[in-house]
Subunit: 1000 residues, 2 copies
């Protein structure tokens, strides 16, 4: 070991390094469209779910990031400086629920900046509703309402009108979306991502991803819209061009002073991805969706890289890259003046790959689905009452409910695909909105029941709140919800609305049943335009105490003081036990009392008006006779007090026959229960769950022994109770201890020979023909004979043969099918009609289900015993709307004008009498008011109809040279006559300026 | 089943919702310090490692995010708008290597904005070096150089001077950091996080986390600095106040229109965390480090939440929260005028918890550590040559090497704690920097060897490159590196510099040994200020072809043409085989030729000058005699041709005795090998690895049979070769097939009774006393008797008893200890001296190791055969620097001024002759130049020394009332006499303005 060694050697290292002077780099991003080149339209966007794994507010502020790292505030905060940094940069923003939250937080200076960016087109609002609503589990009225809310905000704040539909995430696409929420709101195109994988493959092969889609048979070519399905079935950038902060696509490294310079590689990858997409796309324009869920947390990361790509790709010259928007892309497609394939019907059901049919969500979270629908109908009525009293700018208003309902239409809200705490959040918002609307309703009714409008009626809420109404306690909702879910197919009961915070729970307990007084008054509002007689109303009380006070004997008197027929039906033990179970689970303690009876009576209410009924103790009340059949008897049991009879077999308790002695329908019926076991196999496919329905076998539910049958017979109705097994009575919590997810189904079998054909509605509007195991657009490969034949239902489903129609209507969105001829797998309201007569019931009763009577209660004290105005109608008493028209919106807007929507309820050819042009006389609808001006608008009320029609792009359809059926709509409204014509399926939207208050 | 049921019920939901008008919220963030309250100084910061899991460039541009999501460009890009949004917001930025990358990319407008932010104090540069250098594996000259690079940039671009040291991540803290890179650069405080967990616990208990730290005994109170160790041992915010984009601390939700409002909860948590920290901190000022590694990817996320916290916490009033910086915090502490505890020595070693001593990294990646040190010495010399020729603004310059060396000082670079590909990156940068510097050297030598300076010598590089020098091929580095790692303790060889890309490899192959010509000239540059005689120089050739040309017979002639003694020593097969192994592994093919001999001769080179020697074929060359002892012999083998003798036992081949006949030292010595097995137990502790040294037992390495001993005896030196076993010869790849990580150690045992005391250097500067199993500041609980006694070594380690000193010097940073009395576990250069005489060797030879001769080669062709100037010195030939002074920097700056640093090499009392005031006569150092002005500056040359001293805060020390020993430094430099005085351990930095070119 020598101790002195010093050395150094001249080393040669052999690295080529080009050093240049460093300069500030300015990228050329000004490129527009270049004819003759392949144009890559880069559309910077973020897709911000209005609730999903987190609540909307959590997404907005970026809390709960351990669940999902997402903060919409970041997106918008960081976007503005990024857009300001280069005037060529563009961005589209979609979900107005988020945008409005952000807008409220901004300074005036920032607002001005944003207005400038919107005016210049750098920031463009696309779609423009509060949320990107679902298209399967939504009702068309809700879709219109939530879109209107967003569109009117955009119009008011920015004076712009969204041009493009952008439904990139919903799980399949409806005909109503295409024509009502597309063509009728004035959109020039509709883009989406999710269509069946078999369909997409064929459309790619044939370059038919982009089509002209006609959503309604009845509305003809006016219901056409240019519609593009995305290349890959998603809405992300091509792989490797994903530039979110902290993500790992290779960034464009163009600084030759640093290592890993990669411009050439990135440009080559870009060009290759562009050509790959161009290969299956018509014309030399392709769209790249530069973003995905909750991206642009720090917007600069995307723009920094897109700037470079545009610069270097265009330097390269093989393709042309540009900042673009769906509008620019659409205009480019339109300018080609080409013809496009025609698409009819819809894009349901959606499977993203083999065995993965996204039909499970049609029935996920039925409780929430029901709550949404209930609130939706309430909102329709509450807005009318708000109008009748006059909108109160300082509150309360129906706006909170409007907002809650709007976001509940989101494709992870009413769909049931959200997490439990998020479902709770939607329900909580609905509850809050409901509570405020209830104050509006109470105030309005308080005014309307006075003969002369008291001055305090402009804001009577304080007084009203003290005296009236003594509401039924909250946990009655339970009964409502659980009762309504009993025969739906679901895996998760999810009664979200009861999960309230500690404080709220305490308040609830204080306001419990014990405080209810001896007697009360019911006010029923008919919000529906039709004057009709409601057959049954159930009022259910919640405390035995209450019932004891009535001594089980109740009388109901109408506003003339006449006692009317009423009926008390016992609430069976199974219902009471279930109610107690949920109340205890959610309130933390057992309820102090239980309801014992249902009170039923027949009410008559004028259109756009109300009636009052007084319920009081009496010496005697009519109670139904109770009969129990335990299977030891033979023969038939006939149920039903009127024309309609259901025949049960006394021996096995089964329904066997349906007889309507008036319509002369007599059909054999069999009802049974079964369940689908969820397929949770650990392969690479999605297991059956909230999204995907993937049954692994159908299992009949065998009754546990004989089915005892209990019948309550009364003067108004008969009620049948059957307990199939310990967990099917009204379907209770489904046992999952065996590890098998179960989708419970009830099947109605009849002898109708429907030859694989059945009909389901599109968002409660048009009915579409469905054929089992068949698709019109491609040769279906059947790998899921059940899940692949399920369709969304919002109004109903029916089958028919040469003689008879079997209809089922629903009170919330569900899924349904006809798996075998003669069978319907569906829900709720069942009816057989002679062929051709079913549509009347489906349309009119369907509308009643959506918009039932609104009930209000008050104690019967001195003040309120006798209302000065016990019954009321806003309409001319001698007038009612025609049977084929409904008022679907009647609402005072913030500026005092009134928004009116009239909807024709029938399709062309649907009913021999009602599928015709209808007329509405506005002078008789509003007899006490003078209509100063009336302006027809787009469906979302953000532009004049005439302007909209002038602006809309027209598209040529392959093989169709002439524009057909252009006169399928009512004519202009004469400002003097004020008569509105409505063609079948037409919806017309008006903004009316009255010259003074509407009522009195 | 009744088919007609329509109902709706008025539901009461009981939620309190306060709706207010929404307004743009302006947060009050203007709060300053409030006396009498607990002030929480929130310091927004990011800690950006200059390479670690990714390379510096990958961190900067944000590529390779799959390894680690980090992009410094995001930090700085997003920071500026965030600061502009509120003038009260503040931020500190630290790592200039990143900042400079960013600065180069900015527009002039942005630069102006940033200048404004810096001027206003919103953006403050803290620490200010190119990186946050390590403090264990770094040499003080490298620390100074990298800090100077950053500080001068900041001064030039922003005209500001960093005030605070900020070493928050390095793994333990050195005395040199505190006084040289703290006090001497003018810092008012130094903050850091990582100190021993036992130490921290005690300091918390006693409120002694903040101290006055005196880093040098020799430099007295002028080496004191206020030093704060952080509360938790990390540099993050308190738990729950971590607001990085996408992170999951609860954000402050203060919008009462949204759910989850949490202001009260957040304020309470803030106050609780503040009081908890105040509890262990003196005074009512505490600092919160609001950030950590690579945070502020989107800066607004932090500021948005801090704005709210400051607003609401101050509204609450229990504590006072403010935006602050370490400067503001330091001023607040200083204003209290309190006395602080005194801390001496250093904060090594660092354990963050039981059994987790971060002493493993002292020896991780020894190849990189060696390469850094080699390049560091080369850089010192190359800068001198650059000055002698005149700096060429258009390049090449030594700047690239300066930059590469600067970032290599990072605490995840030279430490070896980085990933392999990152180690490769550092090595690649060094290679590139070296290559460019070599061009500088070649150009300078080309000029200096001409008798009259040719005009092209301002930029002679083109010509010079063609003719000269024909470098030794790159893979010779291998030999250098592997040779130098042979006896170091390491787990990962990591010869990074060879992992070049495909293109580079090809170039390397083209430039292979076959092209070497027949004879060549060696130019040796002595960059060291001392005139000294170098004892041995090894030149190793790489091709057998080369050697064959010389016919194994070589003569060496000096510049006078005189043949001097030289010696060819065979390169043993083990070395050749190892060289071949690595060359093949890294180059992809076997090298075409192998070296066969070492050529050694004695060279004499004047200070700041060079000598030339010509090597040529000759008829005969002196070759050493080879003797092999296979263990069959008995008796002693004496090695060494001069005064120094090593005695080996012929019987077992072991070293037994060290005899210096001149100094009369004669000691018994035993050398052995063993290894520590790494403890990789799966408990919650960190396994032994790059960071932590956690041995699980010491295992002696038994020789495989007898140790054959081969001795080459020659006229200049003897060389001993021993093969201990198949993998210890020169320690080659360590077998890890058995799954046990091994730390290889060689132990030197002597009979010195050092009584647990040993001495190790602080960054190659002051020696600190170490006592085994003892800490001065707390009662050490010994749980790792080996790892816990390891200290970093950059210069050397020694022990002593009453008679003798045993010194070991090293050629790169390592770790060392004295685990048992008489033992040193360390590396490389070994010497025994009589007591009191060791320091001369340690200091002077230590400096030679750091800064060895620089060698340059050229073919001996007509043009270069006889240099016009074959030997040169910039100094007055009759003058040399005193033995206790070294020129550690001599460099032309960009503006043409010259930076000179002189260092006194001895501590007070270290050597009886040399620990005295030294003087340097600048007129004789620069005899041909007139010094126009000379300005003494801070150590980092960014401010005048006098100004710095005036500004620096003074701190009172507990128990010390008077300022001691203030005159421990040389006096001012008289501008006429130009004599510089240097006190022991003093370093003085000057900027000199010469009035014309320095040379000739």
């Amino acid at each position: 070991m020598a101790d002195f060694r010093v050395f150094s050697v001249v080393l040669t290292v052999c690295i080529v390094c080009v050093l240049v002077e460093c300069k500030y780099m300015v990228y050329n991003t000004s490129q527009g469209i270049v004819p003759g080149k392949l144009n890559v339209h880069m559309v910077p966007h973020t897709h911000d779910d209005v609730g999903w794994l987190k609540t909307i507010d959590q997404y907005y502020v970026g809390s709960n990031n351990s669940i999902q790292a997402a903060c919409v505030q970041n997106v918008l905060d960081s976007l503005i400086p990024a857009l300001l940094a280069d005037k060529n940069r563009k961005f589209i923003y979609v979900e107005q629920a988020f945008f409005q939250r952000w807008w409220r937080d901004q300074s005036e200076a920032m607002k001005k900046t944003v207005v400038t960016l919107v005016s210049s087109g750098q920031l463009e609002f696309i779609n423009g509703g509060m949320c990107m609503h679902d298209e399967a589990a939504t009702h068309y009225i809700d879709m219109i309402d939530q879109t209107t809310l967003g569109h009117r905000f955009i119009k008011e704040e920015f004076n712009v009108i969204p041009r493009i539909g952008w439904q990139i995430d919903p799980f399949g696409h409806s005909a109503v979306q295409a024509y009502l929420l597309g063509a009728e709101v004035g959109f020039d195109a509709l883009y989406f991502a999710r269509i069946d994988y078999q369909d997409r493959a064929k459309r790619r092969d044939e370059k038919k991803l982009e089509v002209v889609w006609q959503g309604s048979k009845s509305r003809g070519s006016s219901s056409q819209i240019f519609a593009g399905a995305f290349y890959e079935g998603y809405y992300e950038p091509p792989a490797g061009f994903y530039f979110e902060v902290n993500d790992d696509s290779p960034v464009v490294q163009d600084d030759i002073n640093l290592f890993d310079y990669n411009v050439e590689e990135r440009v080559n990858a870009f060009v290759a991805a562009a050509f790959s997409q161009a290969n299956v796309t018509r014309s030399n324009h392709i769209m790249w969706t530069m973003g995905t869920d909750f991206k642009y947390q720090y917007a600069e990361t995307w723009f920094r890289n897109m700037d470079k790509l545009i610069h270097y790709v265009n330097q390269d010259g093989r393709v042309n890259a540009l900042y673009s928007t769906p509008s620019i892309y659409t205009d480019a497609k339109n300018a080609l003046n080409e013809s496009w394939p025609l698409k009819s019907d819809d894009y349901f059901p959606y499977a993203d790959r083999i065995n993965a049919y996204w039909t499970g969500y049609f029935t996920s979270r039925p409780a929430l689905k029901g709550y949404v629908r209930t609130m939706s109908g309430y909102y329709l009525a509450a807005r009318q009452l708000e109008l009748f009293k006059g909108r109160n700018k300082s509150g309360p208003t129906t706006d909170t409910l409007a907002d809650a309902l709007a976001i509940a239409q989101h494709h992870d809200a009413v769909t049931g695909t959200e997490k439990q705490h998020v479902a709770d959040d939607y329900a909580k918002r609905l509850s809050i909105g409901y509570q405020e609307s209830e104050d509006v309703v109470a105030a309005s009714l308080g005014c309307l029941t006075q003969s002369s409008l008291p001055s305090e009626c402009k804001n009577p809420i304080t007084k009203f709140n003290q005296a009236n109404p003594r509401h039924l306690p909250f946990y009655l909702v339970l009964t409502l919800l659980s009762r309504n879910t009993w025969n739906s197919k679901y895996t998760n009961l999810g009664i979200s609305c009861l999960q309230l915070s500690g404080v709220e729970k305490n308040i609830c307990r204080e306001n419990s049943c014990e405080h209810l007084l001896l007697s009360f008054t019911v006010i029923e509002l008919n919000s529906f335009g039709l004057f009709y007689e409601i057959l049954f109303i159930h009022i259910y009380s919640c405390t035995s105490g209450f019932v004891l006070v009535f001594n089980e004997n109740v009388t109901v008197t109408d506003s003339t003081g006449k006692v009317i027929f009423s009926q008390l039906t016992p609430i069976v033990n199974a219902s009471i036990a279930k109610r107690k179970f949920y109340a205890t689970a959610h309130m933390g303690e057992s309820p102090s009392a239980s309801p014992m009876y249902w009170l039923a009576f027949t009410a008559v209410v004028p259109p756009l008006g109300f009636s009052t009924y007084v319920i009081a103790s009496a010496s005697a009340s009519i109670k139904p006779m109770s009969y129990t059949f335990d299977g030891s008897q033979n023969g038939a049991i006939q149920i039903g007090p009127g024309n309609l009879k259901l025949i049960y077999s006394a021996n096995d308790g089964k329904l066997t026959q349906y007889i309507n002695s008036r319509s002369l329908v007599n059909v054999s019926v069999d009802q049974s229960y079964s369940y689908y076991a969820g397929d949770a196999r650990g392969d690479d496919l999605q297991a059956s769950g909230a999204y995907v329905f993937r049954p692994n076998g159908t299992f009949a539910i065998q009754p546990e022994g004989k089915i005892p049958l209990t019948v309550f017979r009364g003067p108004l109705f008969d009620e049948v109770h059957q307990m199939i097994n310990s967990w099917i009575y009204q379907v209770g919590p489904i046992p999952i201890d065996d590890g098998v997810g179960k989708e419970i189904v009830t099947q109605i079998k009849s002898n109708i020979g429907n030859n694989k054909i059945f009909y389901t509605d599109s968002n409660g509007r048009d009915f579409l023909e469905r054929i089992r195991d068949y698709r019109a657009d491609w040769d279906l490969q059947v790998n899921q004979p059940i899940a692949g034949n399920y369709y969304p239902i919002n109004l109903g489903i029916y089958i028919k043969d040469k003689n008879t129609e079997l209809s089922v209507l629903v009170d919330r969105s569900v899924g349904g099918s006809s798996i075998a001829d003669g069978e319907i797998q569906g829900k709720y309201y069942l009816r057989f009609d002679p062929l051709g007569e079913g549509s009347k019931w489906r349309r009119s009763f369907g509308q009643e289900i959506y918009s039932p009577f609104l009930l209000a209660f008050t104690e019967q004290d001195d003040k309120w015993t006798n209302f000065q105005v016990p019954t009321f109608s806003a309409m001319d008493p001698s007038y009612s709307l025609p049977d084929n028209v409904a008022i679907i919106t009647l609402q005072e807007l913030e500026d005092g004008t009134v928004l009116l929507r009239l909807a024709h309820l029938y399709e062309v050819g649907e009913d021999k009498d009602l599928s015709v042009m209808a007329t509405v006389e506005l002078k008789r609808v509003f007899p006490n008011k003078k209509i100063n001006t009336i302006k027809e608008t787009s469906l979302s009320a953000n532009q004049e109809r005439e302007e909209m029609e002038k602006k809309r792009l027209s598209w040529k359809v392959e093989g169709s040279n002439t524009k057909q059926d252009t006169d399928l709509r009512g004519g202009p409204v004469d400002p003097v006559k004020l008569v509105v014509e409505l063609a079948p399926m037409e919806i017309r939207t008006f903004i009316i300026n009255f010259n003074s208050n509407l009522v009195k």
